[in-house]
Symmetry: C2
Subunit: 196 residues, 2 copies
DNA sequence: GTCTATATTTCGATAGAC
DNA sequence: GTCTATCGAAATATAGAC
């Protein structure tokens, strides 16, 4: 398995088209139950042709993972404050909400293929691949952070994912701005009042 | 595929032992990447013996699904109020929190195998199989319920799942009562003040 | 109820022509 | 860049003995 950087070539590129088709199928049927044959059929050519663009099926999933990874780069930049200061969490979530809403499908895929993603994630130690979720996990296990704050952090992350997942399916007609506002206010309440 | 009722025979029953082993493996590796051979090895006998107890691999997953289904039976009973009265939602979640905390593994499995569960869920129309999540989905698509309430409902469900999932991994040493209290208060905030 | 085979299928991956 | 053809592995499921 080789690591494929998340470079976006010009649109219409076969490589990107493969990822788009795979993304839809991974959401609809899940990674494991999606065969390369199905992906190829969705593109109008055969299974073997995929291997010109991706050395393995896992690399297709990896490439999609890197898409979301690069999307959250901005949120990642401000992660250092995350450990020490629970009061700053809400702002970080605010930024995340925008990123995620703009790319719902990517995170829907992530949500529906946790097992598959984690199994390739383990083999990723060669790269300095610091994941947003890894960072969350570390905070949640940090005994210096009050338990109450940790529970609320875990719930806030779940609330955001839950809201996005449902919104990706049920609230497609609602303007993103309105949705973002509602999510922001809800996540803030989940995190709790700063002085509570 | 046949439907297997969630009857609990006496403990030590092979059937239940199979489900326990399968539950652990489905959480750890995911349904798709867990082979019948692995399940059988965890029990000390061979793959073929499983087929005496379950007609197919999917039926093992189904049986586990029915376990969680029966666990939420109580919460289901009070679901009729759910559509009309957002103020009553918090109470229903309260009941759910207890049920889910007492059976974290089951819902952890559910969370990590959404794709697999949904694919068998579609073939389940023969049974009058009213799912809790189905019911939620219906409310979330009901235009009579204010959008703000629907978003908060979706987020509350996500918050609960997120909290449980993390707690199932990180907060194992925390007493359930304390955890339940924190989750209750957090979910309430996620749903929002009754009069807000 | 559990075993030893074995049947059957499907899929990921490769080789090599065009 | 895409094709045909095929390999090899792994998994689900079955048949029938004990």
């Amino acid at each position: 398995m080789t690591i494929i950087p998340a470079t976006k070539a010009e649109p219409g590129d076969t490589r990107e088209r493969i990822l788009d088709v795979a993304l839809d199928l991974f959401i609809e049927k899940g990674y494991d139950k999606t065969s390369l044959r199905e992906i190829a059929e969705g593109l109008g050519f055969t299974k073997a042709a995929l291997y010109y663009h991706f050395p393995s099926k896992q690399d297709i999933l990896m490439a999609l993972h890197y898409r979301s990874h690069s999307l959250l780069a901005d949120s990642m930049a401000s992660l250092k404050e995350l450990d020490s200061d629970p009061a700053a969490w809400a702002d970080i979530f605010d930024r995340q909400i925008d990123d995620m809403l703009a790319n719902r499908k990517l995170f829907l895929m992530h949500e529906r293929n946790r097992a598959a993603l984690e199994s390739i994630h383990e083999k990723d130690h060669d790269q300095g691949h610091q994941d947003l979720e890894d960072h969350f996990r570390r905070i949640l296990q940090n005994p210096k952070v009050p338990l109450r704050s940790r529970v609320r952090l875990a719930c806030a992350q779940g609330a955001l994912l839950g809201g996005l997942m449902i919104s990706g399916l049920s609230f497609t007609e609602v303007p993103v701005d309105e949705l973002a506002g509602l999510l922001r206010e809800t996540v803030r309440d989940t995190l709790g009042a700063p002085g509570s």
